[in-house]
Amino acid sequence: MSILVGTDTRLCVSGLTGREGSFHTLNNRSYGTNVVAGVTPGKGGQDVEGIPVFNTFREAVAATAANTAMIFVPARFAADSILEAEDAGIATIIAITEGVPAHDELLVYNTLARNPGVRLIGPNCPGVLSPGEANVGIIPAQFFKQGNVGVVSRSGTLTYQIGNELAQRGFGNSTIVGIGGDPVPGSSFIDIIALFEADPQTELIVMSGEIGGTAEEEAAAYIAEHVSKPVVGYIAGLTAPPGKTMGHAGAIVSGSSGGGAAKVQALEAVGVRVGRTPTQVAAIAVEVLGGQRS
């Protein structure tokens, strides 16, 4: 078992014919992901290394029964592409695109909120990897193997860092989910933690947060009420100065809100152990799982 992407995934890629889109899609296919279609308006009928391209999501879904979308188009087109995928009946939408305007994300979020059957991951995220089953996005799969640790993170490279340290200690992952570093991510920590809680393969949840917003505090309250599995946390940006955007559009301490210390405190108050460095996160995870190899 895994969450979000797996052996049932039938992937349709918006932006397949672009340089980045084709490179990563073909990587995903080599990993074993079932890539069934691409969408590029005006390029319907073409193919990319055998993957058929359609003009619209509706055509792609009708012809291939795609159930998952990956969004790889430039930022100014991303919101439209996400809404098109939803309109075509796609249930899982994973948006890799970076730099999407926050007001676009607001409209997308509130539109998708009316449809309980759809889930958006991202934008500005590295994607979702279920080791041994499917990889949708840009996560370098070679560092991860199947196992019992579920990872949810606002950052890409930091996820690889933590995942690699876990792998060096012999642990694998059920699924790794990058929820992205933007102010309005389609899915929050809570959404993904709920999926891990229900996933029998996942025995430990690692959540990697960062400064900005209150998603980590909200996750802490949720964990206290609804999560029986152990959770290990990390917060990046504890020493970041207020008022500065630290790379991710959402990583900013504004006035008294969004600071890292409050997030650590909220998590620790509900029994989540928070590592102070990525190395410490891996060490705590090993300790919680009793040092056994998965």
Partner: protein, 383 residues
């Protein structure tokens, strides 16, 4: 992207928000001309993005042309908590009967714009929120519906504004919301919103933060600058398309991925060091962009040592090593580098670095080890 007061006011004017007439000036003569044009008494206000301007002497009222000249000369060039005043905003001084507060904020938690209105304006609103939260009327707006006239009336009545200005206040709040959405702001705040003896409602201040990711749709806003707050490294990085934030310390930081770089800053601070910058080289960094990034880091004279912390995913470590080797050859840095590379092609990268035998460049196997080493080197260099 934070705007100066006058930039915010010019933006508000596009949405019809009532204000005192005003003009911007960058030298004393233009300031005097502006004062003559707007009339006396007028307020001469320092344009810097920092709270407490008034207390620092950055806002003065001029009753005639000689006072206008005197105040403009005093305020231009003034140092307000490290920012040197380069621009003034001169506006007709408003007569004030009541001071209100209005704002639209991008509520990340609710995923909706939050509109706030209070009759306790002209003071620190966070203090009002902490002590008497009931004094602030709030409303979340469904972005798919927008802000309707009834929203404005509801807020005005709930906030308890004077009955004869409910209409004026509601209208101004509606215009503020339109500006927030139209310009794609993360924050649009008016504090104070004043009521004059003639019962006019005016926006007397403007605090606006725009979404940098949306600037491609707003070329006029993208061109706005703040001459009092120009950092040489930050401008250099911006020209080169790098994500760079200047910090106060002496350890230069190069990394890839915002989360990993933030984490690197924390680990360096934890080891007792002080980072000089945040620099995210991004995914798939190529040799030439690495040289450009290192040049930016080294142009900060405070830097005494550099930490290179890369986890290769899409980014190939061997490519990063080539970039570093090239940078050292081109730039001949005088400060030491500590390098930690892991991930895609890390073995090749370490071999390349070993073969290059770069002077002053050492490698470390772990992030924690590399942080400790660079902190020690920076301390040694400053001793």
């Amino acid at each position: 992207m934070d705007l100066l007061e006058y930039q915010g006011k010019q933006l508000f004017a596009r949405y019809g928000m009532a204000q005192s007439p005003g003009r911007a000036a960058r030298d004393v003569d233009s300031a005097v001309a502006a004062a003559e044009a707007v009339g006396y008494p007028c307020a001469i206000k320092a344009q810097v993005k920092i709270g407490g301007r008034g207390k620092a002497g950055g806002i003065k009222i001029a009753g005639d042309v000689s006072q206008a000249r005197e105040h403009a000369s005093a305020i231009l060039g003034m140092d307000i908590r490290g920012l040197v005043v380069q621009e003034l905003w001169i506006e007709r001084a408003a007569e004030i009967e009541d001071e209100y507060y209005a704002a639209v904020v991008f509520d990340r938690s609710a995923k909706k714009p939050l509109v706030m209105l209070s009759t306790r304006g002209g003071v620190d609103i966070e203090a009002v929120a902490a002590e008497t939260p009931e004094a602030i009327a709030t409303l979340h707006v469904d972005p798919l519906v927008g802000f309707k006239p009834f929203h404005g009336r509801r807020l005005a009545f709930e906030a308890g504004v004077a009955p004869d200005v409910v209409r004026g206040v509601a209208e101004l709040v509606g215009q503020l919301y339109a500006a927030f959405v139209g310009e794609e702001a993360m924050l649009a705040e008016v504090n104070p919103m004043v009521v004059t003896p003639a019962r006019e409602v005016l926006a007397l201040d403007a605090k606006v933060t725009l979404d940098s990711n949306a600037l491609f749709r707003h070329p006029d806003n993208a061109a706005l600058t703040d001459p009092s707050d120009v950092d040489p490294q930050e401008s250099m990085a911006k020209e080169r398309g790098l994500t760079y934030v200047k910090l106060d310390g002496d350890i230069g930081i190069f990394g890839n991925g915002a989360g990993l770089v933030m984490s690197t800053l924390d680990v360096v601070a934890g080891a007792g060091g002080a980072p000089a910058n945040f620099l995210d080289a991004g995914g798939g960094a190529k040799a030439e962009s690495i040289v450009a990034a290192i040049e930016v880091i080294l142009s900060d004279a405070k830097v005494r040592a550099v930490l290179f912390n890369v986890f290769g995913g899409i980014t190939r470590c061997d490519e990063v090593a080539r970039g570093l080797i090239e940078a050292v050859r081109i730039l001949s840095p005088t400060v030491p580098f500590v390098v930690r590379l892991d991930g895609t092609n890390d073995v090749e990268a370490r071999e390349l670095l070993a073969a290059a035998e770069l002077p002053g460049v050492v490698t470390e196997a772990t992030m924690d080890g590399a942080a400790a080493r660079v902190v020690a080197m920076a301390a040694e260099a400053s001793a």
